[in-house]
Point group: D4
Chain length 253, copies 8
């Protein structure tokens, strides 16, 4: 159901062709498919610009596989995040075309086509241990149609590494920065660019890193005003918002 079929329905109510009760029922039931343990939102892209995504961490392999297959059957691009090895097998069985991205712990199925990338996103991370989060962001942005530049292991303790890739930042419409420990990288990057920076704290560290809480707090207190923050290890969320920003900046919304 899209905006025009919605207007058709309301016009039918006005004409008396459809009773208010019937219209109400159709409106209530159509936007999602109820499969018992979940209500799949096939029309999310209509309302929100990007399709629904499967967060596999809280689901059984069977639940994830079933939802993946239903969405694949509906013809849209499909993305599942936080996919472990057992879930990966179940999805492969249910949707053989799905691709597993090991470092990113994600599965994708690309079924639509587009004319070139919509916007440009730079993904940075501070250290090798931040790779899973950075890759979740990169894979997410790519399945949503953005161009991604990866710039890894550029933490602030060796500032020359960051400064040496500074040029690569200038073309990005938006920058995603993943860092654990003290989480200082987004502040420094924020001061180097003139576009939004989305900071992703990672759970990398030990002791008083408190599983990423320290990096999170640091990023929220960034002295660079172009920094906004998402949840710890939430590479997906950062890429989702970055895609919306990059798409709009490239005139492709």
């Amino acid at each position: 159901m899209n905006r025009s079929t919605l207007l058709d329905l309301l016009a039918a109510v006005e004409r008396g062709d459809v009773t208010p009760q019937a219209a109400s029922e159709r409106l209530a039931n159509m936007p999602y498919e109820d499969i018992g343990h979940a209500r799949i939102d096939h029309h999310r892209a209509l309302r929100n610009g990007l399709p629904e995504v499967i967060y596999a961490a809280g689901k059984t392999p069977e639940q994830t596989a079933e939802i993946f297959a239903r969405m694949a059957a509906a013809g849209s691009d499909v993305l599942a995040t936080r996919v472990d090895l057992e879930t990966q097998k179940a999805v492969k069985d249910a949707a053989p075309g799905a691709v597993f991205h090991e470092t990113a712990r994600a599965m994708t199925l690309k079924q639509t086509t587009q004319d070139g990338p919509k916007g440009h996103i730079a993904v940075l991370c501070a250290g090798t241990s931040d790779l899973p989060v950075a890759e979740e962001a990169a894979v997410t942005a790519e399945i949503f149609g953005a161009q991604v530049t990866r710039l890894y292991d550029v933490g602030v303790a060796g500032l020359h590494r960051l400064l040496s890739v500074r040029e690569s930042l200038t073309d990005a419409d938006v920058v995603i920065v993943c860092a654990g420990m003290e989480g200082a990288l987004p502040s420094v990057v924020g001061g180097l660019v003139g576009v939004p920076v989305i900071a992703v704290p990672t759970s990398v560290g030990y002791g008083a890193s408190f599983s990423g809480a320290t990096a999170l707090l640091g990023m929220l207190n960034s002295c660079s005003p172009n920094v906004t923050v998402v949840n710890i290890d939430n590479g997906f969320g950062a890429a989702y918002t970055a895609t919306l920003i990059a798409r709009a900046a490239s005139g492709a919304r």
Copy 2:
């Protein structure tokens, strides 16, 4: 100093007209004005797209007034946030053209002109008590040249109030949502729109709101993936990033 004068300088080094030592010194010292207690960054707009802003909370009235006057003298638009009444007087004395926004606790001096607004930002807040933060965001976005739509007191406990302003959200390039207590509004708004939502937790509440920490945590865990978050009460930061997004979306970057 802008990018072309920078290239001129480097070319001069190549020609031998300027020694590396001299070039180094100029590059190091030019970008800011050292007034003892602060180093004013007059060229920030060149690097970062938007001018430096004065955060008055940590400064004496005299310090704020002096920095404000120096920036005014440089001809750029000036914004000071977290301005109390005593500081407001000191700034007025130093820069008579400055305007005080009482609810927003901000002062502005508009000295540049532009052809119409660059992008469109909707600013929402959940309750009356969130107004100071929402207004800080709105005033910031306006001095930076964006069009702002204010939608206040639309908290989720009376959902009909939010749904009744839903149409006003559709034109925005980005939405800023300010809320205290449980901080649920950004998740609901995030599900209604297809653009980035910047969530601003406010320190409104009591007891287990822990001065905004609860709202902050809630927003970081939003189930709407288009939500990013800034620090508690940081209306300014939200508006700064929103301006960058809206400006790019409107093709005005």
Copy 3:
């Protein structure tokens, strides 16, 4: 022992048929059965309206099985929560009639009968991952004699899913809402109904969800005044109180 036998005993003291020392001993010792590692309270329903329930998480399978069997032998309905697979086997051996509810991680033995359900409880949850908690609540309410309506996967990020089941809420005497992450659902539901809402934060989420603490804090700060809160993942406690409310509302107390 119930209220009338208690009065009999006190009257016997008045008549001199029972010495104060003897009466004291009987009053002290009768209300529970001491089996060494536990004191089983067979008369709890007399004092508190509902029978004692076995929380299996902190007990060995043998301890749980023994308590279950003793309560079964006493003829009352029996409920054990947080039952793992090993404990489930031990209970089955000790009380063959017991039923295992896998998703709810609960075991029940229904031995009493009643004339139709006492009151009506709606159980909602925000996402698929909240099912174990929601089912613990539903199974508890059912063993205690209430009618339960399950409404699952209706989180606030896709508001139309919640609004589509709104009618199902109108008949409930009380609503239980289970949600993790930001825990926003109870506030929204609270604004839609005129009955008490019992919010159950779940440990669903990651990073700054802090194993349910964020959802808990959000629910405690709900802007809907008809929301009260129980411990993280405490579906049992929510259902226990909801049963008391629904029973009284239906005139069945």
Copy 4:
């Protein structure tokens, strides 16, 4: 607007007497009165059973007084909580009939009548210092039409004080228990009664009471399953839900 006028409006759409656009506008705008800084929800009692209440803590005296006067003009009972002395004066000027309850820090204006109390609520507190919270609960329950029994200074360190008022608890439909420090009272009370107990942690205490957080946590972990919890010092919220429960239990919903 009530349910029947809503059905009239929808029927008018069906007949073509009202266009969908016009109906949409009326539905969107009618439920509240927009006075700039707030949207007053005059029809809340229709949807939620109890009228809207003014939380004065986050508002200027003028804002509170204006909202109070508007609601008074609408003919409903009015309650404002967290009223300081300055606000009290402003409200008195705007609504001379308003009554100030000093210990409860609340103002009430009773304009409707009812046939006897609807349900019975017992309000307990552990110590003298908990009185403001307990009184906020009692005053709230009374303006909403419930009968209230006050039982104060019955903390668990002197158990005989609680046991001596045990009889007074037996008639209550629901019990509100306010306690600071270790917050143990609700667990003990919960074991003595067969009705719901709403626990209100208070900010009474020092040091490791952390302004009520310790009492809050204790209550959430109560071993009595009939205990639910509200925010620290939230006497109002406890009484609001208790009123709904007591009203239903008395058959008066």
Copy 5:
């Protein structure tokens, strides 16, 4: 080395029989046996009244066994706490006479004799899950020579269970109370007795019990002034101090 040999040494210095350098060396080196990974304090009972105890949790089985055997060889009573199964075997091999207390996770070797118990300690716990901590306390007190009365599963939600054992409390010189969840039991017990109560929070509970932190905080805020507190699950420490108190109260110090 005891007090008198110490005085002898100092007198020898005064007489010139021992040089200050030599005396210093002897005083420095005698009080402990250095076995590389540990310095065993064989003379602790001289200084502190009770012998050193082995906390096995942070040691390898071999380290624990070696220290246990050395202390056994010195002829004193030996106690090791937090002993897992692997460590238990290693100790048995090294000190065949050692006894393993499974629930308490402790090992003891009794080598000294005394004339009857020194003082009387009551050990209470709120629920079955608190048994390991309560037994650690009981076993510790017994190896140190006190008489112990165990009163288990007497939590406050069923107050009659506690009141029924009230008589058993009257003879104790000191009471140890172990409780998890909300940790309310020590406050209630504290109000019933006239002797010191040592509260031991346990890590029993889930969700907002935060592994015992909630019980700990509750106990620290007890409204009963005769309650002091030890670390979470620290049954040993409670019994150590209780033994000192009971011993002194019985005139046996």
Copy 6:
């Protein structure tokens, strides 16, 4: 009412001279005096060994003064803690014989006599800023009849200060140690003595002392097993328990 009058009453019930209803009422009402805002427990010393104490912090000056006067009239020794200057005046007016201890912020009225002190308590503090807490402990112990030795400013950073007063510790039946900041003093003292050490964390410090929480946590983790802990700044509670211990140790219980 004491134990014998209680037995008289129960015998009267047995004889039929008193009805159970009448006896119940007398038992319920006698143990305290209900003055509206408080229930004064005049018989606490009978049950708990020491009289009730007034915690003035949460009470109005009038409330404290009234309770103080009532207890004075009953003839017992009276102690009020956390007395500010305004309350001090109100108490002086109501009970002219009361003595104000300025540093301790306490008021005492000694009305009973005893034959020499009952037990010996040493009170230590780490620095000058801990004096108010240490004095609250000392004044409390003295009004309860113990002998007190004050040893102040003996923090661990200058160990020689502590070692120089070591002799003074040897006669104490129990030691109270007050310390803020890192709270290390109780561990060191605990290793020097063979009696119980009651640790009182103080709110002295700044930054990461978190108003005494750091000292509290440190003391709970003391490696000296004879250390138990009370709430931050709770000099009163430490002295209350210390008095019970010292009294028993001196054979005076």
Copy 7:
């Protein structure tokens, strides 16, 4: 008393000229001056290299003034930190030669002389609001005899400001870095130098800066391994340790 007089005393004991009892007393009492509320450690410089310093925050003006005067009378250099205006006056009266450093909130009295500075310390701060802490560090280092280079307002969001002062860092033996908010500056500085960096978190910031806790946590997790950390706002402690390092590095220990 210094090391040689100590040896003399011990030799006297050996010779029998001094009894052990007498020696013990002299050793115990000499190292400090007991003035009732404090034990002044006049010989601290002998043991620890630097003299005792007065922390005025927890003391009355009179206490601080008395201690200051006593130390001044002893001829050593005197430093008092956290001096408010009232205390400043009291000290001036007691020690007219004392100098007040307003921004640093410190008072100094220089009475000794030295041949040129001992070592070189660079003190950096991120923003204008960090000045009080940075100045406390600078004043402390100077009274202890080090050369100090101040480099203020060089936060990481405008990296060019820091890079422009990079040369000034190269001569320092140790660097003190004060920063609030996200506390990222020490990590970046640590990567630029080859000497120890002492990080001082400041309480500058708002919301999720939690009064400096966020900066503290960030610094503890620094990815630069030459960073150690002191308490929030503890400029004094940083300078104390820095002085020891710089003095040793300059060969002046």
Copy 8:
């Protein structure tokens, strides 16, 4: 690349032999070796005095082994920390000369030589369980060329153990103190010496030790001003900074 080759390059730009573009590229790329998942900083010793170190905890065995081998090939001394058994094997295969230090969980490869140790570091720990952290510190300091004195199991509860090793502290240029639980040892040691003390909180303890957070907080609040702190269990970082201090103190920088 070192400082002189850098000057050569800049001179070449001045002469026109190298274009600015080419120089920029060389400067950007030379300081590290990009191997995909990491950028190895072979020239770190030039800038920071000590070579880069491999933190293995966040890396796969293959990643650690590859980085180790690359650094070994470059001829410098190599240190890897937090090496588990699987990683140890992979490194052994890649760099057969590497030595595994089991207690320290570290691997070293010594390839350079020096004339005797540079400075002297004492490493203390409070208990046997702190050994892994203390050994990580000791091994790190030794590979960096310092002389190390190990003083283990000298916790404050048995003060005589610490005092007996006091002499061994006097020669150290800097002291590292590792302690868990209450973390009191650094304060006591800080008062005994006149050199910097670097405190390392360890995660040793249980319950309210909160995995080392309590020890960390205690150390940050140390009343000894010569104490600075590193992250929990960060023996490496303590030794890194200690090496810089000791090296400078010995005149070997």
